[in-house]
Structures are given as structure tokens and as C-alpha cells.
Subunit: 417 residues, 2 copies
Amino acid sequence: MQYIILAIGDELLAGQVTDTNSGSIARILEPHGWELKRVETIADTAEALEDALDRALGEVNVVLTTGGLGPTKDDQTKQTLCRLFGASLRENLQVLENVKQVISRRNLRLNELTAHQALVPDNARIIQNEVGTAPILWFERPENRVVVCMPGVPFETVQMMERKVAPALIERFPEQDALVRHTVVAYDISESALAQILANWEDSLPSFAHLAYLPKPGIIRLRLDGHGPESIRPEMERLRRELISQIPPGNFLANGDITPEERLLQILTERHLTVSTAESCTGGTICARLCAIPGASDAMKGAVVAYSNEVKAEVLGVDRTDIERYGAVSQTVVEQMAAGVRKLTGSDFAVATSGIAGPGGGTAEKPVGTVWIATASPHGVHSECYHFPGTRDRVIDRAATSAIIALIRELSAPAKR
Amino acid sequence: MQYIILAIGDELLAGQVTDTNSGSIARILEPHGWELKRVETIADTAEALEDALDRALGEVNVVLTTGGLGPTKDDQTKQTLCRLFGASLRENLQVLENVKQVISRRNLRLNELTAHQALVPDNARIIQNEVGTAPILWFERPENRVVVCMPGVPFETVQMMERKVAPALIERFPEQDALVRHTVVAYDISESALAQILANWEDSLPSFAHLAYLPKPGIIRLRLDGHGPESIRPEMERLRRELISQIPPGNFLANGDITPEERLLQILTERHLTVSTAESCTGGTICARLCAIPGASDAMKGAVVAYSNEVKAEVLGVDRTDIERYGAVSQTVVEQMAAGVRKLTGSDFAVATSGIAGPGGGTAEKPVGTVWIATASPHGVHSECYHFPGTRDRVIDRAATSAIIALIRELSAPAKR
């Protein structure tokens, strides 16, 4: 089943908010064989919505909209839908009751604007929003067309898609064909080098299968898609194994669409090992990424963000003379940081970063982007100096990813060292 | 000048990558009075691109595309553009030279696939990509239409938009009218409560001005837009001051589109004060957010992520008996964490978090989402218990924002306590 998403909101077009809803919806519907044909991000005006709806309903059976259902004056969607679909707004007491409950859970009081959420088009099927105040509107249109309007708050959209909207859509439009997707992650190799290795194999793929490259700093995700009946599953499984066997072992990171930090946590948890971080230029990003994953507390001991030299010396035990002699961004300091946090927290493994994220602080000898990364483990301390291009956020992002990959490398092949 | 962006890529429609380019481009062009009419996110197929290009060129003079220019087989854009615009691919030696330079800066070797980047449509104006391998293609089309094709890598798109593409577009289509935008940030108030306070003022706005609400967890951004000639600037400036005067002083966070962490750093830097964090459930997120801002090192002393009880006790000096008696998620522990990290790092202010981010670890007494937040300052230690709904990432996000806002509150009105 093909569908189109209309993401409504001036704030999206102004670049003040990034649309993450479309991707979330796609990830929920895709395993059921639903294909997102297009996303249109449009202004919160009657004209833009009418125009986009017309076009979309001419192409596909299902149109999903997100946004434009808030209580304030800049949200026009509900009125426009009433006009287009010949409806009137009518108070719905169940919605009002739901709004009151949501509001009271948030320790807020119901006011006139929030109460407006209970005014809904009288020819729409209403799906109660269990986690927010704007109800979901489901319109049945002529010629087997369906328009479902959801709020724009990402948490609400994702929760309600999963709980109610996706099941209802799948029931309404049962699908024969499936999408079988396998993702494999490679690292320490460039996109084009990997593409050369895989070229012949890719050419030999059956027509229902397709390989795509999704490079991210430090890693390349390989997405192998198969469109067809359920019977392609075994063949897709065989292709997945073939793909993995084509990747040089030292460049294979993970089977599945997981991040380096998820992979690291998997390895640590499987082996009942613990980790800690000592971060200077990454400012806690490595630790925060690991802690964002459920179950992190099993492997994560803690972190010290040592932005100042006093913290490096007093908390992590880095030699003050070395800081003065070699600078905070140096091999000996980063190695002492890694060893120091490992000792302080009693973790099995540790990683440390010290670098110049910019925009200020660079010198001719140590330009912005210079980052020392050290790992400490039962096998000893190892360090490497990196030079990352780009802006501050990019340097921090790359340094954090590289530190996580350095740990994975240390855990995967200590014998290599 | 109205324009349309086509974001090309199966990975966008599959929800594997989020399109941030459109927002970046909008933020760059908007101050020059350029209005983004629509974004279409489309598949990397000839049919989808042809269809979307046709439609867009029928509506606006300028169409910008991002993505689809990579070296691997799943990128179709260049071939499709040649067919649509009657061009042939021809090797461009300057592009080849640029590709070689970029590749060597990245310590990689040129291979056949990367060299393909130097094949460009022979009727396109070429803008060298100074930070990547895919050149930017500028097509002049009949009836004063322009199509500019940029790579999909966000860093490259942003850099090249700022350096070359935006200046060239503005020169090609000089604009009379400007967009004057003011953003004001409020906190500790709900969207609808704020909307009620501002309703009368909003109704009195002149026709060229428009107010929009952009709620985010913990804050509400108010965007005041004025479209018109340069002469509206003084009036917009007056409206901005009026808007700020309408917001209750205790709910006014910042003048300008800045985040709570940026505001916190502003206040700290202005007053030459320093801060540190002791984080349990937020796992370093508060510190990482602060450190992501240029100049953070002036105010940031450091952080201790105390995921384990040993780190809480040994590094931060929390009383072991209190941890056993009251649990790690308790008022006394979080207050000792805040005081402990303040003492350890010698910072003026400190904030600490201890809570249950989930999905596991909740109890009837302390359900998932329970988070204690404490601030420590020369005025003493203060703490508050929060209950955040939702998933792990949402609890961490809200807890980090609330901790930052708690610090701002402490810094803004210590006398209130």
C-alpha cells in the first residue's frame, strides 16, 4: 500500500523545527509492506493544505497528515478539513473528558483554548489521543480514500501510530506483499571502497532485492531491501548472510540497524564487562549516548567530564607537570585520563578524549579538530591522534563516534595490538 | 522569492535518515526574504524526480534539490537530470582536481567510483564543493527558472549554501521585501495559558505581522514574523518589545531563538560564574548540551556521571548509609550529589539529577519518570521531585531541560527562594 504524508507547519518550513514524524511513521508502517511514496512539508494555510491534499488523493489511497491541530491561532488544519470535507465542528464529550484527564496528569488546568480541542469535525471518526490533547481525525473519503490527521508533537504521533493508527490502517487496507529489510553496518572503510568490494555481488542480486548505502560519520549502513510475497524471506536471509561474508571481517560492525554505541553495549553486556569515560572535548557526549540506551546501567559505571585542568589532575589523577609540559591535548594526558577514570570507577574498560573542538583554541601545532583518544583495559592503554574537519558540533560528534569505535576495536581484537 | 526544495533519497522515506538540510537551507535564505513554499521528500527514482521537478517548476522560479549525488549505484539523480535537461555527462578536470584534494585531505585514495564525481552534465554551471566530492550543479532553465542540485551530506550542504549557493541565488534573483523575524522564549508556562495572555495583543497585530507558538518540552518559542519592505523594521522592533512586556517576568527566558542551555551559558559568562553537573539518570546529557556551545569552557568546570552507587559515594562523597536508607533516587542523595560536585570541581553553581529513566527500574513508590533535581550554589542547596511521562529518551530529555531551567531560575531570582 502506497501512502503520502503531509507534514503541516510554518515552523517546519522556517527551519525552526525538524520533521521527525515522517521517518517515525515510515519505520512503523514499512514492515507491513506499506511504502511511503512522498512527504510534503507544507505551510499551515488552507490553500497549501487543500492543494497538497488534492494532489495526494489523486495518487494514493491513504494520506496521513501531522501537525496543525494545536490549540493556538496559527493552526488552521481543523477548519480547513471541515470546509473541504463538508463537516461542521461539534463538541465531542469523550474528547473533552480525555483532554481533562491528560491536562490533570500534567498538573495543568483546563482553559478555553485547550477545551477547543474537543471541537471535532462531525463526519470524522475520532481516535482518542491517549498521550496528548489533540484527537486524531480519521476521514473516509469517496473512492476508498482515507485521510488521517494526527498532531505534530513527535511523542504523541509515534505513540498513537503504534497503539492505534497503524493497526487500524493495516486492518482497513490488508496487504499481500511484504518488505523484508536487513541492515548491516560496516566501519573503518569509505563508502566508495566498500562499494567496489560489493559491486559484483550487487550486480548479481535478484530483481526483487536492492542494496543501498547509508554513510554516517565513522560507519556505513548497508540496507538490503526485498519487496515481494512472504516466500522471498528465505532467499533474503541467504542474501543477508552473503552480504556479511563479502565485508572484510575487520570492517564488519553489526548485523542489524544499530548504532556503534548500541553495538558496544551489546558486546559489554554479553561479556559482563563494564565501562567508564573521561571526557574533555566531547563534554559527556560519549557517556550520554551510551546512557540513552535501555539497560546501560548494567555496563556503565560512570564518567568524569574534565573540562578544567584541575578536574583532570584532582579527580582523574593526571600529573600536573605533564599537563603543563605537554598541554591538556596530548598523548600522555589522554592516556592518564583513561587509566585514571578506569581506576576511579573500577570499570573493566575506559575511554578518554582530549581535543580542540573549536571554534577557538586552535594553534598551528594543534589546530581545531585535533583530538587524542585513549582506551584503557586489562590489555593496557592505547591512544591515537585524530584530525576531524568541520565545525564544533561535527568535531564532537566524530570524536564521540571514534571513541566508541576505538572501544569496540579494543574489545573485538585485543590480539591485533 | 518563493522556492521549493526536493529532498531526494530512499533513506529519507524509509525513516533511516532525517532530512535536516531543508531546515538549514530555510534558515540561511529566510533573512533575505526568501520563502520556502514546500519541501517534497521523494524517492531516488527518475520518475519521482521528473514528476516533482515538473510540478515545482510550474509553481516557482527556484528549485533546490539535495541528495542523490553520491558515488554509489543507488543515486540516480545525475543521470535523470541529463535526460530531462538534454545534457551529456562529461569529465570536468577542475572537479577531478577538487575530488583528489578532498580525498587526500581525508587520507583516502581516489578510486573509480569517487572519480565518477567528476562526470558532470555539460550544460550545468559547476560550483566546486569545497568540503566534499560531489560538485554542485546549477541549471538555467527556460522562463527564468533555476534548478540547483546539492549533495545530501548535511555538513556539505550547509557549508556550500552559506559560502556559494545562497550568495549566487540572491545575486541572481534580487529581492525587495524582507522577512523580519524576532523570536522570544518563555518557560514555566503552558502554550494555552500563554496564548490566553497574548490573545488580545495578537488580535491587534498589523496585517504584515504574524505570531506563532513553537512549544518544546519545558519552553515555548514565540516567533514574530513581519513580511514587507525594509521600512517595517522599526515597527517590528516595537512589536518585539511589546511582546516581551506582555509575558509575565517569571516566564520570560530569552530574547532571541536560543535554547535554555545557551541562555544559561549567557548568564554564567556575563557574570563570570562557573558550573558543574553531577548526573545519574541524565547520563551526561546536561553537560554535553552545555559543552556543545562554543565558549562553554569559560563557564564549564566539569561533570561526574555517577551511574553506580560507588561513584556517587567515592567520587561525589554521598553518604553510603543515605544511599542504602533512602535509595539513590532520593532528595538527600541528589542534594549531596549537587553539593559534592560543586565542592569537587570548585564551581560556583552545580546541578544534579537522580531518577528512573526506564524502561526498567520503576517501583510503585518511585515509578519510571521520577527524577530528583538539585541545585547547589552560594545560596544553598535546593531540590525538587519531577514526574516525567514517556519513554527513556523523553524522560532524559525533559530531565536535562528541567535541570538547566532550575539553574536559570536559581541564577535569576535567588531572592525568591
